[in-house]
Amino acid sequence: MTIPNGVSLEARGLTRIYGRGSEEVRALDGVSLEIRKGEFVSFMGPSGSGKTTLVNLLGCLENPTSGDLHLAGRPIFGNGNVLGERDLTRIRREVFGYIFQNFYLIPTLTVRENVALPLAFYAKPGADMEVDRILERLGMKHRMDHLPGQISGGEMQRVAIARALVNRPEILLADEPTGNLDTKRTGEIGEILQDLNRSTGLTILMVTHNPELGRLGGRHIEMRDGQAYEL
């Protein structure tokens, strides 16, 4: 699925409620926003403000309780439509790449094998040619035969970014990508993401607590009590 220029993601009244009855938690409360192709959006805010929940919904990782979501004009959620795991997986593998605070590299696979891992399940045409190119671009080619246990935290996150990019996603979701890294490595990862956004036009949605990292994005959204505020 190729997303044309213009609005990539359009959310209207996205709401996500966890629990039931008196235990009900309204994690996201009627958020509406548009993400345009090529944007680098930072979602910031205190813990429990709903930023991760919003990015999870935008990234088709779960269904909203109510509200609509359109991907490149195509309705994904809405009108009570709940997608099953298979449908969500199909969308995710064609459109999104994900990186997380904990890198989740497979410890018994080498750096190169970890990057190539998604291709064992789904590969866009020519994606297998991307592995070495991405590793080179992220400065990890010299480490490609190392195991994750033999590289630093910053390098592990680079590998995780390479893994997220191997299938040429349209949108990269980064949830606290530097949460486990020191200041120097945080800066390096920030630069990589910014460079990817500028040079390839990759849309990036990044959740972070780190204000410096957040400032790298061209657009900043502050989350408070389940609602989104443009800064």
Partner: protein, 394 residues
């Protein structure tokens, strides 16, 4: 690029000790299973061969316990009572009978045998009819007796080896102080004949001061009516008829009881191994829940994850099964010895017979049981939602 198979293999290697312990369980189960299935076939085959090598299908002897008599005869022991020699002649006239051979079995106490002495068994056989009954007997050295009354003996291969005898040597019949010259040593047959000392019937009768026999071996004509023959033989006064097909059936029935018990143990071993596989794979799935979630964000479908976990189970079971079968083949002789120790009667030859077909069948059973064990962990892994991995980040 990396395949699902490589991913599964590397996952198993992650916790080597746990994988190894599970493998040991599968190896032991498949070892026990293939050995038991091999015993199932081998024992019957060996018993059939022993009975075929008797050379006759029916034995007639004086009334007593026929199965005990038959077992004693198979083991080289003496019969229970004596019968007149002319009975053989009357049996020979029956239309179903091809050949008959009179046999006298005698046992003498030999004080020099073993630590506290032992029984030395002798088979008195008729030179005119016995060799014709067993044309498959081949001589390692020498040949049959020169005449029907000679003081000579033919020794089975193991009997000669045990007593360190060669052709030309003299052997002393204990209690009777009669010397017999060894004129022939048979080739190994894998049957009870290997441990037997054959003497001319007349000679053994003379030594024992008897003019009777203990047994008549009957070779039945091809396509003869066995039931009719048995009925005719039962008409003979005070005679007991032992058909080897009956003996075989009875022994197999006795063995079947033991077999059911041992097979039950094998099934329990298999179930334990199955639980081990479920435990190992399920633990591995739970430990890798986050990773599985991440695989799903990468585009792995529930079916992909199911197959990945199932491949791990398949690898475990196939490797364990192959190793177990390999060990069973290597230690088949040891299993054979153990089985012989516990069974009241074991025919000669290979008791635990494992061939390619049986090995393949066992491997199929192990893999099928393993795959069945893998269904639940694989199903559980397939249901992991990617969000679980993210929420689990803390």
């Amino acid at each position: 690029m990396i395949s699902k198979f490589q991913i599964a293999l590397k996952n198993l290697l992650r916790k080597k000790a746990r994988t190894l312990l599970t493998l040991v369980g599968i190896i032991l189960s498949s070892w026990v299973l293939v050995s038991l299935l091999g015993f199932n076939r081998g024992y019957e085959k060996a018993l059939n061969r022993d009975i075929d090598n008797m050379g006759y299908q029916v034995m007639v002897m004086a009334k007593g316990c026929p199965y005990e008599a038959a077992t004693m005869m198979l083991q080289g022991g003496a019969g229970l009572r004596y019968i007149e020699e002319n009975v053989a002649k009357s049996i020979e006239t029956m239309p179903e009978v091809d050949k008959v051979t009179p046999i006298l079995m005698q046992a003498f106490f030999d004080p020099n045998k073993g630590d506290g002495g032992g029984i030395a068994g002798y088979f008195g056989v008729d030179l005119d009819t016995f060799p014709g009954m067993k044309p498959f007997l081949r001589f390692h050295k020498g040949g049959w007796f020169r005449n029907a009354t000679a003081d000579e003996a033919v020794m089975g291969y193991e009997a000669a080896e045990l007593e360190q005898r060669e052709v030309g040597d003299l052997i002393l019949v204990p209690e009777k102080n009669v010397q017999l010259q060894v004129v022939g040593i048979l080739q190994r047959t894998g049957t009870q004949d290997d441990g037997t000392i054959f003497v001319p019937l007349k000679t053994l009768q003379r030594i024992s001061n008897l003019d009777k026999i203990t047994t008549i071996g009957i070779k039945v004509k091809k396509d003869a009516d066995m039931t009719r023959l048995e009925n005719a033989l039962y008409q003979l006064p005070d005679m007991q008829v032992v058909s080897f097909s009956q003996v075989k059936q009875t022994i197999m029935k006795l063995i079947a009881t033991a077999r059911v018990m041992v097979l039950s143990i094998a099934v329990i071993a298999l179930l334990i191994a199955m639980v081990g596989v479920v435990n190992t794979v399920l633990m591995s799935v739970l430990e890798r829940k986050h990773e599985i979630g991440i695989l799903k964000t990468m585009g792995a479908m529930p079916g992909d994850i199911f197959r990945l976990v199932w491949t791990e189970t398949l690898l475990l079971c196939a490797c364990g099964g192959l190793a177990g079968i390999g060990l069973a083949l290597v230690f088949a002789r040891l299993s054979d010895l153990l089985v012989r120790r516990v069974l009241p009667y074991a025919p000669g030859g290979e008791l635990v017979a494992i061939d390619f077909r049986l090995a393949f069948l066992t491997l199929l059973i192990i893999v099928a049981v393993g795959l069945l064990s893998g269904v639940y962990p694989a199903w559980k892994a397939g249901r992991v939602r990617p969000l679980d991995s993210i929420r689990g980040e803390g």
